[in-house]
Symmetry: C2
Subunit: 346 residues, 2 copies
DNA sequence: GTGAAAGCGCTAACAA
DNA sequence: TTGTTAGCGCTTTCAC
């Protein structure tokens, strides 16, 4: 013998009070034309009957779902977890819900995600493009249907939509400048695959920072790896084999930096005294290794919040005129820890 | 001059083919009574017109939203990111979408999340209860409305709903046994707050493992901390101040283990040769510190998958009879790394 | 094998 | 200030 399942609608409240469903609807949405007295009794009976408005019905009628669809490569990657955190918090304050779709970096899944979202009548889509994706027609489809689209992190310019990214160039510039200020003269860089835009930007930031500070760029001090701990180890070994080894290393991202750190330790060089080290991305582990790793934060939570804000900006002023897409570039934040600060804590 | 916004409905297809919307609907859902010929033309025109079915309308009519609501404390915690990953992948293969709600560990938000989900007509709710929550009426409300509810990780037994947890006792037992097998005789435990069930379970697992292996439990070797790196450091210092220091430590979770590791290093004791160390939770950083940290995996992805599976089990056989709630207990997985394996790699 | 008609629960234009 | 009516887009029962 189980409890009766509640299924209370506007009509039930209306019947109870001998008024129409329309009045109940208006009373509950605080319509100005409804008397305070009716509003009060309506609200009371709604409570009494444990009424829950049916959003599905409301959405169908109003053409507004109050749902944002978010497309990410994987919820398991801490970066995207943080971004979702940011998106959800902003969405929540705007009375929106967040629907998640994971692509596993696959174009096919990404396409399917877009389809589902369109069918689910989401009011907007926030997406980070998968590595596998070349054809962008599914994103064009979103625009064509008049659904606001905002890209974050994995962005593409050709779509003409709003986007949020972090300024990789500025981050690299700041990281390198920081090493200069620590008194380092021979600052090496372990780079990533140069056809990847963000890695190339970081190289440029490094080079320009050296130039600005009057330090000659030395090609021997630039090596290229493949974004992994092992690759970082190998690259660092090359640098340690130079006739004159560097006194600082800016690694293109934290895993590479970690590999470099291991090689430096194995060579019995002191970090940061003999070789200062800084990475990029602020991976969680950096805070827990010894020495703690200096790095550049990509402001992931903020990125999510800003992406959501961009959506709400479009949403809230749908007054005709095709809006100009906003391209938001977040300033990354330098995080200085033991690996790059000489006389740390002294 | 922007592109016309597509808004194609079943009616548009019907008009185009001089048939009724009903037939189109049946054709698209592959109804047996519809001729192959009609199905074919219908599908063709649907494609031609770029028809996307409106799930909202379909949901309203069918009373099924194909959406699972997931309530978590925070998407930023890597544990929950993994769980979401698991849930989403299973949901996706079942043509379901996942709606996320973050509670920030607050009862008020959790209540609001449940409300929103009920109003959104989700077909089921998967939830991890926030620390702040004592009153569980909102969860009872879910059951009362006939919506399947599955709890994971942060579970409570009094609700009589299905749940997925990891077997903390077994994990602790395995971790301790592993240390015994490494030849350790004086195995210490840094515990957590004992009023927290999982921490208490881990203590029990530790004690029972010692007993089973014929090692006397020594109260001096059990200290209690507060789940933080600093607390781990302090607790370890106490252990190192004993007349006879331990030759192994099982820490209640990884951050505590990390603190302990730092203290051991500062005391110039070798890990694992002088003191072997193992943690719990498989935090990402454990793989990257030196030495790499042995730990116990809580199978987060699997937990998400199983939670989703439990939901689909209920969903797929709604044949009357009140179902017995399933209490799924996942076997944790021992992860042996450098910090606990003597002669590692030899 | 297909059509006609009703209705899921809500909202909004129009009337009164 | 409230009621009437229609309809969002789809599914489904009942006809034929």
């Amino acid at each position: 013998m189980s409890e009766a399942i509640l299924k209370v609608t506007l009509m039930d409240i209306a019947r109870e009070l001998n008024i129409t469903a329309a009045t109940v609807s208006r009373a509950l949405s605080n319509h100005p034309a409804i008397s305070e007295a009716t509003k009060k009794t309506v609200r009371q009976t709604a409570d009494k009957l444990h009424y829950q408005p049916n959003k599905i019905a409301s959405s169908l009628r109003s053409g507004k779902s109050n749902i944002i669809g978010v497309i990410i490569p994987s919820a398991e990657i801490s970066f995207f977890g943080s971004v979702i955190h940011g998106i959800e918090s902003v969405a929540s304050t705007n009375h929106y819900n967040v629907l998640i779709y994971q692509t596993s970096e696959l174009y096919e899944y990404e396409k399917r995600g877009v389809q589902t979202f369109l069918q689910s009548q989401v009011d907007g889509v926030l997406a980070s493009i998968s590595k596998d994706t070349i054809n962008l027609d599914h994103y064009r489809e979103i625009k064509k249907r008049g659904v606001p689209l905002v890209l974050f992190d994995r962005v593409v310019d050709t779509l003409g939509v709003s986007s949020v990214v972090v300024d990789d160039y500025a981050g690299a510039f700041a990281a390198t400048s920081h090493l200069v200020k620590q008194g380092c003269k021979r600052i090496a860089h372990i780079g990533g695959q140069q056809h990847v835009n963000i890695f190339n930007q970081r190289l440029k930031g490094y080079i320009d920072a050296l130039n600005v500070h009057g330090i000659q760029v030395d090609d021997d001090l630039i090596v290229y790896g493949k974004i992994s701990i092992d690759s970082g180890r190998e690259c660092m070994k090359k640098l340690l084999a130079l006739p004159r080894i560097p006194d600082a290393v800016f690694a293109v991202e934290d895993f590479t930096a970690l590999g470099a750190m291991q090689s430096i330790k194995e060579a019995n060089r002191k970090i940061p005294d003999e070789i200062a080290l800084i990475g990029f991305a602020n991976e969680p582990f950096g805070e827990y290794i010894t020495p703690t790793l200096s790095t550049v934060s990509q402001q992931t939570v903020r990125m999510g919040q800003e992406a959501a804000n961009l959506f709400f900006n479009v949403m809230n002023k749908r007054d005709g005129a095709d809006q100009q897409p906003t391209r938001l570039v977040l300033e990354p934040e330098l995080i200085c820890r033991q690996s790059s600060i000489k006389n740390y804590g002294a």
